[in-house]
Symmetry: C2
Subunit: 245 residues, 2 copies
Amino acid sequence: MSQRLAKLASSLQHKKFRTKEQLFVAEGEKLVLDLLESFSVKYILCTKKWAQEHPLLSTTVIDNVLLKKASSLKTPSSVIGIFDIPKETPFNKDELPALVLDTLQDPGNLGTIIRTASWFGFQHIVCSPETVDIYNPKVVQASMGALAKVKVHYLPLAIFFKDLRAEKITVYGTYLEGKSIYKTAFNKECVVVIGNEGQGISPELKQYIDTPIHIPAFSSTPPESLNASVSTAIVCSEIARTIQS
Amino acid sequence: MSQRLAKLASSLQHKKFRTKEQLFVAEGEKLVLDLLESFSVKYILCTKKWAQEHPLLSTTVIDNVLLKKASSLKTPSSVIGIFDIPKETPFNKDELPALVLDTLQDPGNLGTIIRTASWFGFQHIVCSPETVDIYNPKVVQASMGALAKVKVHYLPLAIFFKDLRAEKITVYGTYLEGKSIYKTAFNKECVVVIGNEGQGISPELKQYIDTPIHIPAFSSTPPESLNASVSTAIVCSEIARTIQS
């Protein structure tokens, strides 16, 4: 049993198996306990000590050799949770503002963006199908338990934008040049598109962007760009600040 | 020679050897080329192909086995640069605002903060001695070449703050509770203290904080906190925005 579960946990590092089993994996005491509040748990693999410290939880004790096999970390933590992937809820045009991610590739960035979106009250994130999977263990790790608070959708973005056109919703896109975010009159009825870490927003999506925006640099020799999760956070902060005041 | 250099590059992943040799290491084409503009290079280890593509650079060709030994990455890139650690320039109280980092531990966070600080025109970052080393390869990687644009100092923070007291400089500190950053009248003559990822600002430094500030959440169920590089970026953006306008 414990051998089988260690193998299952390890396999869930790959999207193919997550899709097949409709399960995802999370490691670490704080994260697992956080996720238990919002996700239905299938198995909790842990050390004997951890199981004794949490007598109310239904756990499967596994030895250190198997824990190492089950873990994606160099130094495995004392607990690994295997959770059900919940059913996707549809995008709701009445719950704006929302974020749109065009082919974000770094799992740490996506996890951080989910955490930030949740902080600033963005309830939906729409991702291009090429964006890293939210149930990737590194995304789950970086989201720090905010995973359940934000609804993440994977959709072909051109179709999503075409659907939006009938509505009075402004589509902003972050570029290296554009209107300063500090001079943009954001309102609640908007979505903001964040581009890929290296390539920015795909050229074929440009036609759907109503207003290109950018974060001005305050230096004569700034770096080429900001980190994607940093620029997303600054835009979220600016939108939240201005639409609330 | 190439064997010795591969060993040197690998040893520079450790602070002890960086301090001893006064050298640091950076991997990847874009990063190495960026750093060549600002740092004095000691050796460039690369594949034969890379050397042929860059005939104007003085390179040392090493084979794939040695490149793998020299590299800190699972998949080594085709070039590794070994650079001189420059002499530290002293902190300049006339070049404000500045950031103060209290025991930041994640190298990715520090690198991202350096990149962000450079974007928003913060010229100095003062770090507690316990903060991760800026020449840690993961910091160098995440800073994306902004390393040369920001002066980073390692100082006991209590001494730094005592020195500041004679000056008319406001010390802000980020906490989970405090004055909203959106309602704070920042001026140029300030420093902002960012706390450790898990513990926040050390209790013994609280006496030096003139104004505790925080980033308000716009959600009824926000996560416990924001990522440290994200909250630093939002504060930098807010200071740059308000002192310029």
